[in-house]
């Protein structure tokens, strides 16, 4: 009998093995517990929403209570407009801010900006809604698509800014040097070389931000409002899928619930399609940094 097999240490060995196995089981269970809600959400949205998805859903306006049928064409278009407006606000500020932090960010001011961006990232979306309500809705005396876009845009800024900064920082110094040594200015180097190299990652950051704001209902309730009619004027209240889901889901009508599920499915699909399209459009033949 070798020293490795003697009685007491053999027992310890078994205990260690048991503990090891236990931890593995616990870890796997936790992973399952984490995936389960996600899977169920997707399952429910598809199972409940699929029946409500038809041509009318995408092409018709909502019908008044009691009348069957109708669709959410206005909310779908509204959501697209709101996300577009938000991108107009959020992307330039976020991307340029991120570049500033990465390229000139070794000072107190940049440190402060970074800190506040991280804080803003954690601010509940309803608070952003209240802020825009006070800044835009109150002075203009109306809920509007513009206010909604501004609220969502403000929410995009920190995510886009921080991911842009991180990815611009990842671009190797040798690429910047190559550009500078050819006589390019700092700004040209950043826009023509560094951003091109970081494109894939920056797009990922933008997609994360867009996916997040596309599903926001809380800030829109206070800013864009809602309407059952066509609304493509950004100075008027603008319907959106999340707000429509909220409005329909809290009503006691079965056909509205069905519409709400269908809208949820449409929202998930919209985000998915946007992600795939953006990935495809910017798929880098020359990508270096992910």
């Amino acid at each position: 009998m070798s020293a490795l097999q003697v009685g007491e240490s053999g027992l310890r060995h078994l205990r260690r093995k048991a503990a090891n196995g236990m931890m593995w089981v616990v870890a796997v269970l936790c992973v399952l517990a984490a995936i389960l809600p996600l899977g169920l959400v997707l399952y429910y949205v598809i199972a409940q929403g699929a029946s409500g998805i038809n041509l009318d859903f995408f092409t018709k306006l909502p019908k008044p209570v009691g009348e069957p049928g109708g669709g959410m064409a206005n909310a779908i278009v509204g959501s697209l407009i709101l996300v577009g407006l938000a991108s107009l606000v959020g992307l330039p500020i976020g991307i340029l801010g991120g570049i500033y932090l990465a390229e000139f960010g070794n000072n107190r001011f940049a440190w402060t900006v970074r800190f506040f961006a991280d804080v803003l990232n954690g601010v509940p979306s309803i608070v952003v809604g209240i802020f825009i309500w006070a800044m835009v809705v109150v002075p203009t005396h109306r809920l509007s698509g513009l206010a909604g876009g501004a609220a969502l845009g403000v929410m995009m800024i920190p995510t886009v800014m921080r991911t842009t900064e991180e990815l611009v920082r990842l671009v190797p110094l040798s690429l910047r040097e190559a550009s500078l040594s050819l006589g390019a200015t700092h700004w040209r180097t950043v826009f023509r070389v560094v951003l091109v190299a970081a494109k894939g990652g920056v797009v990922t950051g933008i997609l994360l931000a867009v996916s997040r704001i596309a599903g926001e209902a809380a800030p829109l309730l206070l800013t864009a409002g809602s309407t059952s009619f066509w609304s493509t004027r950004i100075d008027q209240p603008m319907p959106s899928l999340p707000v429509q889901i909220f409005t329909y889901a809290i009503q006691p009508y079965d056909d509205w619930h069905r519409q709400a599920w269908a809208a949820a499915l449409a929202l998930v699909s919209l985000v998915f399609v946007l992600s795939v399209a953006a990935r495809y459009a910017t798929r880098g033949r020359f990508r270096m940094v992910r």
């Binding site: 070794n106 190797p172 040798s174 690429l175 910047r176 040097e177 190559a178 550009s179 500078l180 040594s181 050819l182 006589g183 390019a184 200015t185 040209r188 023509r192 070389v193 091109v196 190299a197 880098g284 033949r285 020359f286 990508r287 270096m288």
Partner: protein
């Protein structure tokens, strides 16, 4: 040959002749923060020949090279003292336009660093910045530059492909072509072959031999055989000082300074 006008000589003889000074370095000191990386360097680099800079790692030879096109400017906390004159004009004069300077003094780096663009766009980048050419002129210029970099035949059918699809040696020649496209007078090379295999190295050396007909070349190298093979003059750096400078044959066969001799005979470094 001394006393004879350079221009009067036939081209084939010129290589051996005394050439005019292209770059004159006077009392050059350079500091990274408190660390002095270059100590009172004085040196004259002649035009249209290859000047090699050798020395052990950290001796300041790359720093010296980067002082010639002011690439050290981008390092935070760095400070330069003294004079570097290009055709008699001090490049550290506050009135000097760094963009114009770098167009005249191009640089090739240790590792091939093509831009994340197509082969064509890599070469067109420089001419575009300086507004040198557009349209079909630009296409001609790209072709001409790639030919000078001895790469045209290998890439003429893949100009629209990613530069990363090329081999390491091809990428380095692409980087050389990219520099030549802005029509520089001086080409600085910072260990251009250290990341390449022997065959690619040979091709670059042949290319350098071609290029010296038209360009002033300064090369930093760890490889003494390479310095001996390609250069007409060699400088030996140690601890930030220029220990010895002279014709390559002298430096490698009959150096004056004991430290140079120890280094070139492989006793240290």
């Amino acid at each position: 040959m001394i006393g004879m006008s350079v221009a009067a000589q036939p081209a084939s003889l010129r290589q051996q002749g005394d050439r005019a000074t292209k770059i004159e370095v006077e009392h050059l000191n350079f500091f990274y923060g408190r660390f002095q990386a270059l100590k009172d360097v004085n040196l004259a680099i002649r035009e249209r020949q290859i000047t090699a800079l050798i020395g052990p790692s950290g001796c300041g030879k790359s720093t010296f090279l980067r002082a010639i096109n002011r690439m050290n400017d981008i390092i935070e906390g760095a400070r330069t003292e003294g004079h570097v004159r290009l055709d008699g004009e001090d490049i550290y004069d506050p009135a000097v336009d760094v963009v114009a300077l770098r167009r005249r003094v191009g640089m090739v780096f240790q590792r091939p660093n093509p831009f994340p663009m197509s082969v064509f766009e890599n070469v067109a980048y420089g001419p575009r910045i300086h507004g040198l050419a557009g349209g079909s002129d630009l296409e001609d210029l790209v072709e001409e530059s790639l030919k000078r970099a001895a790469l045209w035949d290998e890439v003429k059918d893949k100009l629209r492909d990613s530069a990363f699809a090329l081999s390491g040696g091809q990428q380095q020649r692409l980087c050389i072509g990219r520099v030549l496209a802005v029509d520089p007078e001086v080409v600085l090379m910072d260990e251009p072959c250290s990341a390449l295999d022997p065959l690619s190295t040979l091709r670059i050396e042949e290319l350098m031999h071609e290029l010296q007909q038209k360009y002033t070349i300064v090369i930093v190298t760890h490889n003494m055989q390479q310095a001996a093979r390609v250069s007409q003059e060699t400088g030996f750096f140690l601890h930030g000082e220029l220990i010895e400078f002279g014709p390559s044959t002298t430096i490698f066969t009959d150096p004056t300074d004991k430290r140079t001799e120890d280094y070139v005979t492989g006793r240290f470094g």
